[in-house]
Symmetry: C2
């Protein structure tokens, strides 16, 4: 089941033959991650790129006052990694934690390198995935500078319709960069408006 | 001369044959951009990816109070674009302005697409360039959260040794996200320390 979603997602970007997809998918390992378990801890070297087939992860950093800043929530169909750590083999800055019982497909760096050689179309796939990740980070950065907190909240629920209702005000606050009291206020305001 | 640096830079990532490099480089156009001239204005559709062969550009956005926030300075050897605008054909959010008389090599989207077909190694090249850009943006984002203003200033001068001395306090302030008075204070403090 994990691989059906994975195949669909990948085929949006490149067309693999059945044999190619077989080789490609065998380079990935399925990993179950229990709620609250860490897939990556800052300080460790990140050894994987991952594709979420089930559940949800939060990818966050700790700022200089040790407050959590959520960079993104990786829900079903999203990729996750600490690319700087993976590529440059330096300690990770990101914490990646499952918010619920989740499943990911993980590929190790050396297996990805082997795939680039074996199935050159993999270059195209990761070129597109990297560009999309770059655009997502660009949008995230711009929103923090140009939108009001309420606009950012509305953008957040449209980006994450699957999980917006499940997250606590504290978790959303750590993503929006505002206080949880303010998230609560915005949620109430929007709820009132809908009545 | 423009193409020597370009070739060196590209050959760090992929090995093109002489013929391949010929085809590859012919897909780019040389463009001179005078000091203060804009290569891209927010609101326009970005139609290029560019490689700086000479000079320096600042890539910035305007926040909700219309203050400039510099995302990065693109110096010789750097790539620049508004990828979200280029790929999704939506109005650019970035302003890209030459800080001095500069020169860039530009490739249009359709010419890049043609290169992907004609010389598949181009996929690898842009996969690597995109991953490096993503890492640069990740570092930029982390630094804003985890370093003090003085640490960020020191990081800034080590990232941009070529231009750090040429920029005004105001330009550096727009990159570090602090007031220009504070930049002035840090510069004085560091100068005193060196005596």
């Amino acid at each position: 089941m994990s691989f059906t979603l994975f195949k669909e997602n990948i085929e949006k970007h490149v067309k693999f033959s059945a044999d190619e997809f077989e080789v490609f998918s065998q380079a990935f390992q399925v990993k179950k991650v229990a709620k609250k378990e860490f897939l990556l801890r800052a300080g460790d070297i990140c050894r994987f790129e991952g594709f979420v087939t089930q559940g949800c992860f939060r990818v966050y950093i700790l700022d200089k006052e040790a407050n959590e800043k959520v960079l993104y929530f990786a829900v079903t169909g999203w990729w996750l990694s600490d690319l700087d750590s993976l590529i440059n083999e330096i300690p990770a800055q990101f914490w990646i934690q499952a918010l619920e019982n989740s499943e990911v497909l993980l590929i190790k760096k050396k297996d990805a390198e082997a795939l680039y050689q074996q199935i050159p179309k993999t270059e195209k796939l990761f070129r597109i995935i990297s560009q999309k990740a770059l655009i997502a980070m660009q949008r995230r950065l711009l929103r923090n500078h140009s939108d009001t907190a309420e606009e950012r909240y509305l953008q957040f629920i449209s980006t994450y319709p699957q999980i917006a209702q499940k997250l606590t005000n504290l978790q959303i606050a750590a993503y929006l960069g505002i206080s949880h009291e303010f998230v609560s206020k915005i949620r109430k305001k929007i709820a009132t408006r809908k009545i």
